[in-house]
């Protein structure tokens, strides 16, 4: 029976059915779908802002769906907090009192909760704004407060309901980057709802694509892009077609930084540190690719006064300028290093990292065409 038939017979709408998934500790799990697909409903079931009529929701082995009020309140206080699309800050409170809200209702003393709140405020980059009123902040800053509020109680799980959708594109990208950076340090378990493919690919360790209240596919971004489970998913990730059109030279970054094979090892280490990267390509004076040096090896070898030639790795995957993106995806997913793109003379022409491939697939059609033209010229 379809959703429509059920509605006609019972006047009840099917919110979710047959939804089964695990979210692993420390991963960012994106629930993604069009509006009305049930993704926000599903998120609200996780902390029972909406109670499911049937089924189980397990956290640390306890079934949230079966909890009484007291147990549920405890989970909401200690284990799970939420960030809202509309920020949902309390208008009568200052920033710090908003951030301290979760601790306040747990009865934490003022000094203690202000200290934790201050920490959370600094974490999201709002140092010094504690005493501001929320209405004086921009949208991006307001959502930082929302994020700080959710972090202040130090929960295990963060539920983020289209947390960045209400922000303008530039700020949204900035917030995504910062969430990634924060997540790198915090290793929280995040369930993130989004309707934006770009965002899902960027943030998600795994993505669940929802349609009409069920999950059409769960998988890593690569799996979903390369191996869509059904027509709906492949339509949804229409960017997959681009994977056949776009080639390595469309999606590669400029080959920077690189280190000359004649340089001292310390130069390589310096460069990697300055750019915050963990590996660097080695070229000869004609820009012909020689190998790759990893920061761990380099630092260890520096003490033994070794040279770049001694420690560089020579055996690693290389891409040609015309390698199609669909062939790159599995390689980049497997590879521990960035992938070099070389021309026929083995000269280094560009570098591809995982993000640049996914970003290219999430481009709009116009952006993709521009890229292709750019290279053609």
């Amino acid at each position: 029976m379809s959703k429509q038939e059920i509605f006609e017979k019972t006047n009840q709408t099917v919110g979710l059915y047959n939804v089964n998934f695990d979210v692993y500790d420390g991963e960012t799990f994106v629930l993604m779908g069009l509006s009305g697909s049930g993704k926000s409903t599903l998120l609200r079931c996780l902390n029972r802002l909406i109670s499911p009529t049937d089924g189980h929701i397990l956290i640390d082995g306890d079934d949230i769906a079966a909890m009484n009020t007291e147990e549920l309140r405890n989970v909401r206080r200690k284990k799970m907090t939420m960030v809202f699309q509309s920020f949902a800050l309390l208008p009568h409170r200052t920033v710090i009192d908003n951030v301290a809200f979760g601790l306040e209702i747990q009865g934490v003393s003022k000094d203690e909760r202000y200290a934790s709140a201050e920490d959370a405020i600094n974490k999201v980059g709002l140092k010094g704004h504690g005493e501001s009123t929320t209405s004086s902040l921009s949208g991006g800053m307001q959502q930082r407060v929302g994020l700080a509020r959710a972090l202040a109680t130090d929960p295990d799980v963060l539920l983020m309901d289209e947390a960045f959708s209400a922000l303008d594109p530039l700020i949204r990208t900035e917030m995504q980057d910062e969430l990634l950076a924060l997540q790198d340090k915090m290793k929280k378990t995040i369930v993130f709802v989004s309707h934006d493919l770009d965002e899902a690919l960027k943030l998600g360790d795994r993505i669940a694509i929802m349609k009409d209240g069920y999950i059409a596919q769960i998988g890593t971004p690569e799996e979903i892009l390369t191996n869509p489970a059904d027509d709906y998913v492949s339509e949804f990730v229409a960017g997959v077609d681009r994977a056949k059109i776009l080639t390595a030279d469309n999606v590669m970054k400029r080959p920077e930084p690189v280190v000359s094979i004649n340089s001292e090892l310390t130069v390589a280490v310096q460069l990697m540190k300055r750019h915050g990267i963990s590996s660097i390509f080695v070229v000869n004076p004609d820009k012909v690719l020689q190998g790759i040096v990893l920061i761990d090896h380099a630092v260890a070898a520096m003490k033994q006064k070794k040279k770049i030639v001694d420690i560089m790795i020579k055996d690693f995957p290389k891409l040609q300028l015309d390698t199609p993106v669909k062939d790159i995806i599995p390689i980049v997913a497997e590879s521990q290093y960035p992938l070099p793109v070389v021309d026929d003379a083995n000269k280094l022409r560009g570098i591809i990292v995982r993000g640049s491939v996914l970003g290219a697939l999430a481009m709009t059609d116009e952006e993709a065409e521009e890229k292709i033209e750019e290279v053609a010229q």
Binding site: L49, R73, R76, M80, T81, M82, P91, F101, Q106, T133
Partner: protein, 277 residues
């Protein structure tokens, strides 16, 4: 007539007399309590000489109402005008009656409003009752009030409370129901108890609307005390009534002006009490 005479009037009358017969002791107790409240408040207001009272009132208004100097000065000038008309004592009598009525109306109205916002059954019961209370001509309340409490300030207060309470209930209910759903979700998602949700989220967010109800309540109280003079409530209302009976334009106008001054001061004060966002 399609329907036979349903004797509605007679039924209400017998209910009123029945209450008076069987609950007289409760009514007496209430009457004494209210009488003490009003006269106590009046004595307190009259404790200071007019000039000292005026200064203190102006300062109070200044500090309570966001430090608006114009408001404080206006208050002082208004009170001095009242004193110069020789209506000080009567004005304080009226103020005491208004404040007592408003206090009781708020003490009943705000909790009832909260209850109505939280409970659909209460809401659906209060709604028609409030419609009834607000549309029934206010003079009608005077009759049972007199039967229960005789003549004087107490029946005046009771009629005033009945008349002035509905907007408080309505606006408290409205204010809480209008709290944005995502703020309620925030509250729940962070694990508040129902009481914490009310005190830390719903009431603070609803305060501007609730204050509008408080303002309405005080204004309606003031407009009712004149009518209440018909059943012996003392103060400026009685002065107006006498003015009408004697066709004494001057006396009627002066008493009316004093009421207007009190009304404006109370109105501006309550409007400015709402905390800034």
């Amino acid at each position: 007539m399609v329907l036979p005479n349903l004797q509605i009037g007679e039924s209400v009358e017998s209910v009123v007399y029945w209450i008076d017969d069987y609950f007289g002791f409760l009514l007496d107790f209430f009457s004494n309590f209210v009488d003490i409240l009003i006269s106590g408040l009046r004595d307190a207001l009259l404790f200071l000489p007019p000039l000292a009272f005026t200064v203190i009132a102006a300062l109070l208004v200044y500090f309570l109402a966001k430090r608006k100097a114009a408001l404080a000065i206006g208050t002082a000038v208004g009170f001095l005008v009242i004193d110069s008309m020789g209506l000080w004592g009567l004005s304080m009598e009226t103020l005491a009656l208004v404040l007592s009525s408003a206090l009781i109306a708020l003490a009943i109205g705000i909790p009832l409003g909260i209850l109505a916002a939280k409970n659909e059954v209460v809401y659906h019961i209060t709604k028609p009752v409030l419609d009834f209370m607000q549309t029934m001509p206010s003079f009608v309340y005077l009759i049972p009030a007199v039967i229960f409490f005789g003549l004087g300030n107490v029946p005046g207060l009771v009629a005033t409370v009945v008349f002035a309470m509905p907007p408080t209930i309505r606006l408290t209910n409205l204010g809480i129901r209008q709290v944005p759903v995502e703020l309620v979700e925030v509250s729940d998602a962070f694990g508040t108890t129902p009481m914490q949700k009310l005190m830390k989220v719903e009431l603070p967010v609803a305060i501007p609307t609730i204050m509008a109800g408080v303002n309405q309540c005080i204004m309606l109280s003031l407009s009712m005390v004149v009518i209440a003079a018909m059943i012996g409530a003392r103060g400026l209302g009685y002065q107006v009534l006498v003015g009408i009976q004697r066709v004494d334009i001057g006396q009627g106008f002066e008493a009316g002006l004093a009421i207007v001054i009190i009304a404006i001061v109370l109105d501006r004060l309550t409007q400015n009490l709402t905390p800034k966002k």
